[in-house]
């Protein structure tokens, strides 16, 4: 009886030890296999403005309300036009700051006179909900200086970005954490 108990005891110990070896193996193997494929700095999600089609999903599909996607302005690319395709609704005849003329549904674009004939357009990010209407307007009628970016301080950096999943143009991807934005202004280059 005593003896038999010992047999079971030792058998269980053996199974436990063997199992431990079996499960430790992958536990060691996984980091080893990934040793070369590990980055210390991680990723963040960002929109490639050159792929973005301004479909409007960024506004609705972000897990945050309002969306972490905001419009940003590449001032150096801007023409500072009076008749701005990003600020004014298409087809309006009078150019003014009246609500009936504004394209932005939340009134997040501030128009300021600089000098004849130039106007500066600034985005109020608190009001912007990332719908991309102005971006489309600017792309279609202007220099394309307005573009959408994920504001990294608002972004939760989900493991899987919910707008990236629904982005029809697959414009949102992981970018290295040391390059958190994809600015639209570009430097001069040669070959």
């Amino acid at each position: 009886m005593k003896n038999e108990k010992n047999i079971y005891q030792s058998r269980r110990d053996f199974v436990r030890k063997a199992g431990r070896v079996l499960v430790v193996a992958p536990l060691v193997a996984v980091p080893l296999a990934l040793a070369k494929k590990t980055t210390a700095s991680g990723y963040v999600w960002q929109i490639d403005p050159f792929k973005c089609t301004q479909c409007g999903q960024c506004k609705t599909h972000c897990v945050k309300t309002p969306s972490a996607v905001k419009c940003v302005h590449a001032y150096v690319m801007c023409g500072y036009c009076d008749l701005c395709g990003g600020y004014l609704r298409q087809g309006v005849k009078t150019i003014s700051t009246g609500a009936e003329n504004q394209l932005c549904p939340t009134g997040a674009i501030v128009r300021r006179f600089v000098e004849e004939p130039y106007f500066e357009y600034t985005i109020d990010e608190d009001l912007c909900d990332g719908c991309g209407k102005c971006v489309k307007g600017c792309k279609d009628f202007g220099n394309g200086s307005l573009y959408l970016q994920i504001n990294q301080s608002l972004c939760d950096n989900c493991n899987e970005c919910s707008i990236a999943r629904s982005c029809p143009a697959q414009a949102i991807s992981r970018v290295p954490a040391d390059m958190q934005y994809i600015p639209k202004e570009r430097e001069e280059g040669h070959s």
Binding site: K36, F50, T65, V92, P105, T106, M179, E188, G189, H190
Partner: protein, 568 residues
């Protein structure tokens, strides 16, 4: 913690209040959420219809006023419901926390009454029952899976051919393995395209001069003024050297005797049908002659930024010429040509179309064209041989891709570059290295399914291309940091700051790396895993082109002059 009966009653009351509060706030929030998400006030039909009316009658001040009023209302509604949601969620959280704490206290206070269970269940019977349940659910799930695998097949591509394809892929892989190692043995004499044979930046032969001085003429065999401007680099076949140039809208190909610098012939490539009447959009000082020519035994071909493409025999007689359509892009077209087996490969990058084309060098007939995805790049193609298959590698944005030069089929592609891609790929026997500024240096193991072996973004050239042996990868950044990487691991083996700008791409020749900076100083460094400078030689003229190496001589195009360096 133990509480008296009275305290528990109080806690229970608090918890009830908190629960009801949470419930009410929750309901309000759900209502608010519905309002925000479904009847989005900003897009509400009333506002849209008023706007529509206003569009038809823009002079109507009353309508304008109406739009303003409704717009204000909509925005107010939108932002206040957003605020409600924010505060609501905090309230609900607070309520829930209070509720949970109270419930926990109540639960913790309850005396536990360990029930004395009846007879112990028989373990054997229990196990038997479990087995039955488990088997039963496995059977149900299996049936479901089998059913689903047939029901959900509709609208998928025909998979029946798959097995045959997989087999043939396996055969191909076998053939690949059987193929001999990918030998690359560049010619001593011919430097047929930008960055030498196959565009790899590796020169054949040895005994190249190490020291010269262009200012006082030491070591310069000959020097001649090139009659037209250009940023293109010289190419060499046999005794002849070819460069392209342009004066405003007129484009030329010049042919020199490489032994004495005599200009043998100049042919114009202008006035072709479809050629634009003015300079296409490009960077200020780029000009039309940025792309280098390509030459083989039969012909020399040249392309210009206005889309003119022409081929001449080695004596300057035109074989064929036409305009491809203007490859207009922001900085101007700059990709060089490359030739493989009498197929002239053109990397065509414009705002309108991005493709790669193969032309018959004999008659200029378009053999194939493959559209590429992404944005224009300013790099040049190079040729690699991986697994016994010769492939044209293109650094694009964002794809680095390989094409079969015989039929243009895309062999593989990988999404890894972004930004303004100007450097051309570096290639060794198994890998492709792509890099551009503000992006990454990516080491790709070439193959049917390319794999990124490592990446680094510490040193990224904007214009000079990297160059690689099987062991080492060398590159120099635009501002003068030269770097050597271990090709396998991506470890930085050495770096050295040269302290000047670089446009010219480094070349490996005779076991050394030749870095030419923008002011004309050539840094010659051992092609090894440790920094070991060999020599430095001054040309005395600004250089933006990549030198050509042939028969113990180095040919360098400066801003104005063409030099042949032979050493002492």
């Amino acid at each position: 913690m133990r509480f008296a009966e009275n305290d528990i009653r109080v806690i229970r009351n608090i918890s009830q209040v908190a629960g009801i509060f949470t419930l009410i706030v929750g309901l309000l929030m759900i209502f608010s959420l519905i309002q925000l998400k479904t009847i989005n006030p900003l897009d509400n039909p009333a506002l849209l219809s008023v706007k529509e009316q206003f569009d038809k009658d823009q002079e109507n001040a009353v309508l304008a006023e109406q739009v303003r009023a409704m717009d204000l209302m909509a925005r107010k509604a939108y932002f206040s419901s957003r605020r409600q949601l924010e505060t609501g969620s905090w309230l609900i959280l607070a309520g829930a926390v209070v509720f949970i704490i109270c419930q926990r206290l109540i639960a913790g206070n309850e005396k536990i009454m360990p029930g004395i269970p009846g007879s112990k269940p028989d373990e054997g019977l229990r196990q038997q029952r479990y087995r039955k349940y488990l088997t039963g659910s496995a059977v149900v799930l299996t049936a479901g899976a089998i059913l689903a695998s047939f029901l959900l097949r509709s609208n998928l591509p025909d998979l029946s051919g798959n097995r045959v394809k997989a087999l043939s892929a396996r055969e191909a892989r076998k053939a690949q393995r059987a193929a001999t190692r990918n030998e690359f043995d560049p010619d001593d004499t011919n430097w047929p395209v930008f960055r030498g044979e196959d565009g790899r930046g590796i020169a054949g032969g040895s005994g190249y001069p190490l020291s010269w001085n262009g200012e006082d003429g030491t070591g310069v065999k000959w020097k001649t003024v090139i009659p037209s401007d250009g940023k293109s680099s010289p190419v060499i076949w046999g005794d002849r050297l070819f460069v392209t140039g342009a004066e405003e809208l007129e484009c030329f190909v010049h042919c020199y005797d490489k032994n004495n610098g005599t200009l043998l012939w100049t042919s114009a490539v202008s006035g072709l049908p479809g050629e634009p009447a003015e300079l296409p959009k490009m960077d200020r000082d780029a000009g039309l002659a940025v792309s280098s020519a390509a030459v083989n035994a039969k012909a020399v071909c040249a392309i210009f930024a206005n889309g003119n493409l022409a081929a001449f025999d080695h004596d300057g007689n035109s074989k064929w010429a036409f305009n491809l359509g203007v490859p207009a892009n922001i900085y101007g077209y700059s990709s060089s040509l490359i030739i493989h087996d009498d197929i002239l490969v053109v990397q065509y990058d414009s705002d309108e179309k991005i493709s790669v084309m193969g032309y018959d060098i004999e008659n200029g007939e378009l053999k194939w064209e493959t559209l590429r995805q992404g944005s224009p790049a300013w790099s040049s193609p190079a040729i690699g041989i991986f697994g016994g298959i010769t492939q044209v590698i293109i650094n694009g944005n964002p794809f680095v891709s390989a094409y079969d030069p015989s039929d243009g089929k895309e062999l593989w592609t990988i999404d890894c570059m972004y930004g303004d891609v100007a450097p051309s790929p570096a290639i060794n026997s198994s890998m492709v290295f792509s890099v551009t500024d503000y992006s990454n240096l990516v080491a790709i193991e070439a193959g049917v399914t390319p794999v990124i072996k490592w990446q680094d973004n510490s040193y990224t050239p904007d214009i000079p291309s990297p160059v690689a042996t099987d062991e080492f990868l060398f590159l120099v950044t635009g501002y003068g940091d030269a770097v050597c990487y271990n090709t396998q691991t991506g470890d930085t083996l050495w770096t050295h700051y040269f302290g000047d700008q670089f446009y010219s791409s480094p070349i490996i020749a005779d076991g050394m790396v030749w870095f030419m900076n923008r002011s004309g100083l050539m840094h010659i460094v051992k092609a090894a895993g440790a920094y070991e400078p060999v020599a430095e030689s001054q040309l005395g003229e600004a250089v933006e082109c990549t030198p050509a190496f042939s028969d113990k001589n180095i040919y360098i195009r400066g801003r104005k002059n063409l030099y042949c360096i032979s050493g002492k």
